[in-house]
Symmetry: C2
Subunit: 430 residues, 2 copies
Amino acid sequence: MTNKIKIGVAGLGTVGAGVLKIINAHGELLQARTGTRLEVTAVSGRDRNKDRGVPIEGLAWYDNAADMAKDPDVDVVLELIGGSDGVAKDLCVSALTLGKHVVTANKALLAIHGTELAELAEKHGVSLAYEAAVAGGIPIVKALREGLAGNAISRVYGILNGTCNYILTEMEETGGEFDNILQDAQKLGYAEADPSFDVDGVDTAHKLAILTSLAFGTPVDFNSVYIEGIRDVTAADIAAAQEFGYRIKLLGVSRRTDKGIEQRVHPCMVRTDTAIANVSGVFNAVVADGDFVDSTVYVGRGAGEGPTASAVVADIVDIAIGRHSATFGIPVEEMSPLPMASIESHVGCYYVCLTVYDRPGVIADVSAVFRDENISIESLLQRGRSESEAVSVILVTHEAQEASVVRALSKIEKFAHSVATPRMIRIVSL
Amino acid sequence: MTNKIKIGVAGLGTVGAGVLKIINAHGELLQARTGTRLEVTAVSGRDRNKDRGVPIEGLAWYDNAADMAKDPDVDVVLELIGGSDGVAKDLCVSALTLGKHVVTANKALLAIHGTELAELAEKHGVSLAYEAAVAGGIPIVKALREGLAGNAISRVYGILNGTCNYILTEMEETGGEFDNILQDAQKLGYAEADPSFDVDGVDTAHKLAILTSLAFGTPVDFNSVYIEGIRDVTAADIAAAQEFGYRIKLLGVSRRTDKGIEQRVHPCMVRTDTAIANVSGVFNAVVADGDFVDSTVYVGRGAGEGPTASAVVADIVDIAIGRHSATFGIPVEEMSPLPMASIESHVGCYYVCLTVYDRPGVIADVSAVFRDENISIESLLQRGRSESEAVSVILVTHEAQEASVVRALSKIEKFAHSVATPRMIRIVSL
């Protein structure tokens, strides 16, 4: 007699359809790998009659996904609906409460309710798995939770949003400005009609909050993530970055500091010779630094039908084999709510771009402000030479505290020769 | 009452000492992650009194590691001795036979006896884990076996030997020749006194044979691996590679072809803009291509105390938690012994370097040979111009079959104007 695991798929968008395709294509392979037949028994979607490129005849259909949890013919629920609340959450709560395993690709849900759901999973002795929620096809959840389990993690960071990385790569390659590249990306399907979730850094922050919990064994704390998107990155910034040997990437960075755990999402200047700087287009990458293993790098596709579905199926395989793990690597009751460091206490190097009238004394005034804030300047570069028009002054600082840099920029903004609000991009030493 | 898992460490070299250090340093963390106390109860090494930077007082000592398997106070045996036979194998066989889990870092053992040991582990219902055997700190065994379990793998390849990658990187950066760089590497401790295992590609081949089994679900077949080391790579080859936009790396490549599974280890020309080309020095990297996930890349330290011990501890954590997997991803009885393709049937592009007298007609003669073997030439470059002295002629071919290229080179070698044996390096399109 063959073991069988009965799967209910809630959400038949790209990822849901991808999962059905994998299970159809690799039924025998998956059976060899798990000793179990993976059988989809129930599905739920918006439109029963839509062609998804994969047959759903003969499967139980649910108009309301939340009802699927109660189906006695469903052992594992795949929540592929999305959204941090509503039916996605209802479904997960009722499935876990009924003692059914849940596999989800929903980063928003885990970033907001991850700890509470993990507790529920533990209480009922089932798995809550979410490899697909972070960096799609890259098995980074497994790597952090299991592969690096012998290490205290000091830092985890990455390119976690393909849309942003695509836009920044295109900006660099074409010299174009954000708005134009975004429009092209929307036409090509690499950016959503409403791109805010991606380009404003929220999606990256959701994923980072999950990685932080996994890496440091602390409850998920999305509200502590400092978030800044890529809308303000200009072609001039990208050109200046190149000149200084940097590339601009939107990173999510989480690291252990004296002041607590820093969680931040913002455009970063990274040296062009680092692994992360060379991850282009829609690819994602994660770097995890452990005290014994040193630095490990993981690169792959962060989204799309195949890669995301691949991650969902890996979670199903774990469940089918009985490879159970605590949701965030350690049980919720073992978690310690670590202090979170504010962005103001961040210490690092900064790229600063000022727009000023090129009058005698302007550099002296700027330098004095930095000196007064105890910020030492590594290099300074003036662009253009014109007494009547504004010019750019670009500075790179040595290590300085964010609060000091913010104060300095605010003083400079008030100068008579300041034309625009000074801008800064954090430099990340990797 | 706390669960406890009792560990016997056989082999107290770098890796063994590293494992003791991790367990000492992270006792609480590991207990939180596993719900179990990891306790080393017995050790075995060459010299009981050597200072390893970690205390072994109070632990049972075995002069003969093979005896450790019988210790009732040992649940898990760590085989960190090395060598494909002898005491390492004896210890593993007796531990598995006694129903004890085995964790090993021994690639030679698994490459030669992997299938037989996997069968033994299955028969006795225990784990045979070996994350540390391939690419040290990179959790690639777990990624292939679990993280990519939803995919049929089409290809897996990588830089699996840090010594070779260090030497090739140094050759490129300094322009030096192999012998000199090897001597420097030996002085710095990056190469062994007898470097053959590394530089002749055997170590890479051991690891590749393991990856092949994991990726394709076929019994480990080390004898089918084509092996060519890096001793013959010259500074001139490296310079020529740069000119054509390539870098030379020693890769282990395993891929599914029409003719069977190709397993080969040899110097490769890889495009400089690929992820693998940018992995320098002692770092390792593995790329795994799956049909749904597409390409995934893993980079990290391939050797050394911390990274290797980190991998060993990850395996212990899996065992402590009860996350059990078939040794090579599927049980031995489900494995299919796939046909293995010979290197002669390999199809790819080739870099060819000829050393000839620069006489009229030499290029015509060379071209005719390639034409007769049905090999089309992508580019041809003559180095130097001297009727009396030998010059280099460098060719890059379009896709051709290895057997044809070998025949062509053998014909050219017999030319009157040939000065040295023609050499070739395979170009890998990644």
